[in-house]
Amino acid sequence: MASSILKTEKLCKSFSNGGLQQHVIKNMDLEILEGDFTIIMGASGSGKSTLLYALSGMDKPTMGKVFFGDKEIQDLSNDELAVFRRGNCGFVFQSIYLLENQTILDNVLTGALIVQKNSPELVKKAQELLKKVGLSEEMWNKYPNQLSGGEAQRAGIVRAVINDPKILFADEPTGQLNSAAGRDVLDIFTEIHKNGQSIVMVTHDLKTALRGTRVLFLRDGSVAGEYRMNNYDEDDSKARRSGLQSFLDEMGW
């Protein structure tokens, strides 16, 4: 049985809006297992992204606890959380968010050099990863605005995994990509997961969710249901799709 990498206890997150308290996550107990490709789904406003921020230490919960392994992270200061993130977490954003004034290779290295010392091995690793996601050498010294969305997101994934994070978070990584580019990006995620990477991804796209091994469906700030799948296999996609679709239908998606 895989061990728990992330765990929440009675996690609550509320926002104050014009004096009104809006409870987005309510007393959530949740466990993310090592090696899982966890998909978080739910309707708009169900608290998917809020949960992702809370799990990744980008935001602090209003109440409750978040354990990363054995370490409680909810009470860390912002700077302590930054240090925590740099060694443990990788992020892939919907809007990609590459640094526009840096080349693709520099974007990757900016993420790496805050954790590791500069070395030829590190540069080589970055270059190999870029090659692996289909970004050839002539692209390394290009700036983000010279790349297509799919290419940029691939660079974003490399930046997220360059430090071998214990867990990779992704917030609708294919949301701004066309279907072909989205598929390429998802293939990379699948590949990374096959290599043992724990992933937590927020999406509302069924095709994307199919890549996961565990789907959590949120409703009104709580986990309304959970669906487990085997590792992704393209040959098995039809059955996988109908299974997940049934679960989602059941959840009222």
Binding site: Y53, R85, E100, N101, Q102, L105, T110, N141, N145, D171
Partner: protein, 837 residues
Amino acid sequence: MVIRMKILRLSLFNLRKNKREAAAIVFLTMITVFLLGTALTGILDIGKVFEECFSATGSREYFMEFRESSYRSLYRDILEEDFGIKDNEKFNVLFGLNINTLRKDGDKVAYHFLFVTEESERKAENFVIAKSMQEDQISGLAHPVWISSGVALNGGFEPGDAFTMVIGGRDYPFVVAGVYESGLSNNSGYGYKLVISERDYELLRGIMDEYVCLAFDAGKDFDTAQYTELCEERSSENLILAMRTESKWDEKANESVFCQLLMGFAIIMAVITMAASIFLIRHKISNDIEDQMQQIGVLEALGYRSAEISLSYILEYVMTAGAGAILGGVTAYIFSPVMDSFIGNLMGRIIHRNPEWLKIPLIAAAVVLVTTLFALLKAGQIRKYPPVIAFRKGIRTHHFGKNILPLTKAGKNINVTLAFKSFFKNIRTNIGTGLCIVLAGTALMYSTGGLHFFLQGTDAIISLMGMEIADERIVLLDGVDAYAFADEIKDFPEVRKTLVTYEAEYLTVEGFDTSATVIVYDDLSNTENIFLSEGRYPEEDNEVAISLKRSADRDLHVGDSITLEGSGTRKSLIITGIIPELSNSRYNIYMSEKAYLTCVPNARPDTVEVFLEKGAERSEFEKKVTEKFGASAKDMAENAEASGDLEQRIRSVADEKMATLISHYGVSDIDYSIVIGDKLISGRSSGFVIREMSSFMDLSKVQIEPVADMFLLFCGGGAIFVTVVVAAILAIIAASNVRRQRKELGIMKSMGYSSKDLMKQLALSMLPATVTASVIAAVLGATVYKAFWYYCFGIANDPNAAVLAITVVVLVIFCYIVTYLSAGRIRQVSVTELMTE
């Protein structure tokens, strides 16, 4: 109308969004208008202020004062006949050099004083009383004195205060009956005029030099040199030592010089502030446009013209600069009495003026106009962004250039590498920041150089005097061997050193209008306050050193020759050295005794300058000298007190009479015999050795202290002010950069960069600009400092290199800390806001 409202709303939105930056621009504009308003309505009008003050006194424009024994009635005839000045007044004054006076704070300082009776004073001017005691109180005073405003301000005297002069060890206890406004004789250089009763005048007459003064109006072009020449020619008298001249224009120049320096200082500070303000506005507009690019695109898509959108930015700065200008103008108005009091203290006058207040709104409007103009030029860049380009966030965010400092070559510290990358990325902003720091830093370097110099107290200025300022200056009677006397004095344990010289001697240098004070020593290299800026001390009988000012005025250098004219002699000497000096109108000449005697063959050394060991008491030393060599003739003449039996009293009175004859009338040898009953009492003057003992230190204190205090205030205030401006510039730039780079900072945070890392990066990214600018500022500051001393005082005074180096380091550290702290807004940037965009 709708468009106008939308533009106004956009301006107000920007103001509210960036309150701190707006407040900083308001502050900088306020300071600019305050400084310019103060300088241009007050200090710039200093000439006018002087004219108004002078005119209020009703003073005559010229005083020609002749030593009573040298005065001839033909001097007045020359004035009337040759110069046609029939309207003149003649009256007598007493002149006391270097008179110790107890200041209100208990300090003993030395002033030059001119004493006149009220009748004489009314011949010189209107005797305008500024403040005084009640008539009945004055009539009860034994020794009332009306003091000129200059000495009242210098010493802090008020009506009713004790005004005690110490002459020859004896106190002369006057009481300040009133303060009056004096046209001439109102500064420490010429002396302050005091009005005393006729009885006191007669009392002081026995112990002071009396002069005959001719007072008249003759306009600016009156040639005093020509008048003096005519007087000397027709009377065959040498008037160099027997005549003093004062004029309204000399007084004006003396009094306004420091106010003009203050004005220059205020204007420089205003220019720096305004430059900083304009730079910040341009920087902020640039950032705002970049920040609001998509909003601009939307407005353009909705049909707003670029000019209308630009107007919203301009309107923002019209509002901020306008608010600052109003505040600055009001501050200048409110502070005008303080400034008047400050100027009054510098001039030694009670200020009468009617400032041209209309100038302030004009200055304020000009500042707002210039600010708006620069805002307009910058806001015009909106034209470059039609909707589509604006939606794509312009071209500024598109990078196709060379990758400077690729991270593959990053050093050990990624924060440093990223900071330098950021420096090159924002090179234009950094150059602008650098220029602002160069401007402000130059003023800072100049200020700290001055601060360091003036914090050393009067000693620092004394070191620039170009003459020896001994602890005690002993003038000997004719016939006394100065070298033998000096040898005896040297044996006193408290004496560190003695130098033999000549009492103030004057020679004429061919080609120069005014005579030169000659500084003569057996060996000039033994002096300790005469420094060469070039060449060597003169040694041989055909060598001379000249002042830096004289050298610069006539392009004279080491190796050139000058011709000196003494009493009946004329001699050409080679210049061996150039000496910077602040004394005697900066035209001293320096020569060895050997050379001096070839110019004035009958001169004899008559002065011994005594340098005491550290901690030795001057009064104790004087007491020991008096015990060994007898009191000075001057002291004895001034200490007319007889006591004891009849013979003692007779001898005392006889000694006093002899002393008076020797010290005031130039008598060199006296014998006396008095028969009382069957007793013969006799004596002779050979017992006298010392003519006078005095110290330049006390006089220097009066003349130098106010100047040193003023410069200390300027430099200290300037340093603080510049520091605030630099802090404001950096704080705004840092805050503005954080705002502009909010997204990038969020991305960096998501990668694990902490707020501290990012703050460090931002602070480090400005370091190359601040280091370069600080070094350039140090070089420029040193140049300005040297130029200031040279052009204002004609001397070379280099700033202390170590102080400049320390200031550079401190400035760089200060800039780093301010930027780091100002970048604290980075803490507010959260990664989650990225995701909710």
